[in-house]
Amino acid sequence: MQVSYRLIELASQHSLELGIKRLGADLVAVPRGLDQTLEQSYLTGEAVTFYMDRTVKDKIAGNSLVEKVSAQVFIKSLARASCCSLWNVYLIGFEPESDFTILPWLSNHPLRKINPDQILAGAGLGLEEGDTVRFYGRSLRVAGILDPTGMGLDQTVFIPIQTAYLMARESAVKAEQPLPLGPDQISAVLIKLKPARQGGMPGYRSAYELEKAIPEISIIQPDDLLVRAQANLAGTLRTLRSASYAIWAITALLIGLVFALAANERQREIGILRALGATQGFIFRMILWEALLLAGSGAIIGLILSMSILAGFSRLIALSLQVPFYWPGAFELGLLLFLAAVSALLTAGVSALVPAIQSSRQDPYEAIRRGE
């Protein structure tokens, strides 16, 4: 249980670090009051659609704290519609000429530019480069797959914003339902702030100043995602942690009791061994080694089982808890498993100490007599 809660915590943090790095922006501006909606969407991948006027982007760009901006538009593909090959998928229209979140990925990729009829797909959609998908009756080709983050961004498709507007315009004819998106509408503005040496301010100050200057927006800071994920997890982790400590204490007591009973049952055997010349140290080590071997094998089986269950159900756990999940690195995982095994061995060793000491100190004749 300790491995489970610690692994969920680590995997969630790891995923958020990757996701926030992918986000690339210092701040994200959305229509007033919709910041928490978008935060939850980033974590779970559930598509949300809201719009504001494009003039907001110009207002933000004109602010002295801002270095550059890039607009995005959020669309959700139709459910159970033949004009969409993937249902309920999050489509994000982005501006290739000003974007600074997707382009850094492209710069590391052989494909340096994205064409109007191309899209970039998140790793969680099961698509491959070269696949053709249809949204609102428009066919688009997958130009590349983004690296996984474990966050909602893995279930997202990135499409050039002009293609999104064209798709909306043509949807009245080509799609089962029209896409209600006008060419002057955007959903969010990604903001890169000026560094301090150029007159910039820290993120939280800049967020406050921007919200004060432009009342129609709310600002999301990347740290907000961390806080939200931790809030989603807090209750569950607290329960798991408390349960694991309680189980640990009970297990330690039970091990001590079982070994005390076992040592009591084996009094005659121990007495005979002592009579044949076994030292107190030998008896002590024998009982302790048995405890450690049993604990070790139990720890190995338990760790294999818990890792298998977590590996198999990781996506279900992430969606149910509404937190991102991305496996931590091999070193962190190995360290966690090693510490879990060591704690199991220590617990068994400490619990079996008293029965081991008592058994080793018994008089051989008394032990044989009592065992009959």
Binding site: G126, S308, F313, R315
Partner: protein
Amino acid sequence: MRIRIFGMLILVWGLILILIPWVLFPVCGAGRFASSPGHPEKPHPCWPTAKAETVLGILSIGIGLIPLLKPTRKSILGASLSSIIISVLVVLFPGFITGLCKAPTMACRIGTLPALVGLAIIMLLTGLAGLAQYDS
């Protein structure tokens, strides 16, 4: 007595196999993922898998009954071999034969498939233990 226990185990695994795709870890559009009344669900690609697993579950229950009703060495041999074959089919159906929905975040992939794989491993181990019992 031990032969009856194996029979009971195979029967219980069969019952769980029926419950997994419809109740415990339902496939898309089934169980807790079903759409509201008045909005009929379009068939999902994972439904044939759910039906196939249900049939395998019923077979498993029938096979588990045999050692329960007639606890002989032959019955445990037959039941164990059948359990091993069924456990392989439990994984082959969603993986290769009937398949599942394409998107990795669909309910059938994140819940049903891992549960089926886990149960298949347990059924395989039960079958192997039954064979070992037969040998001894």
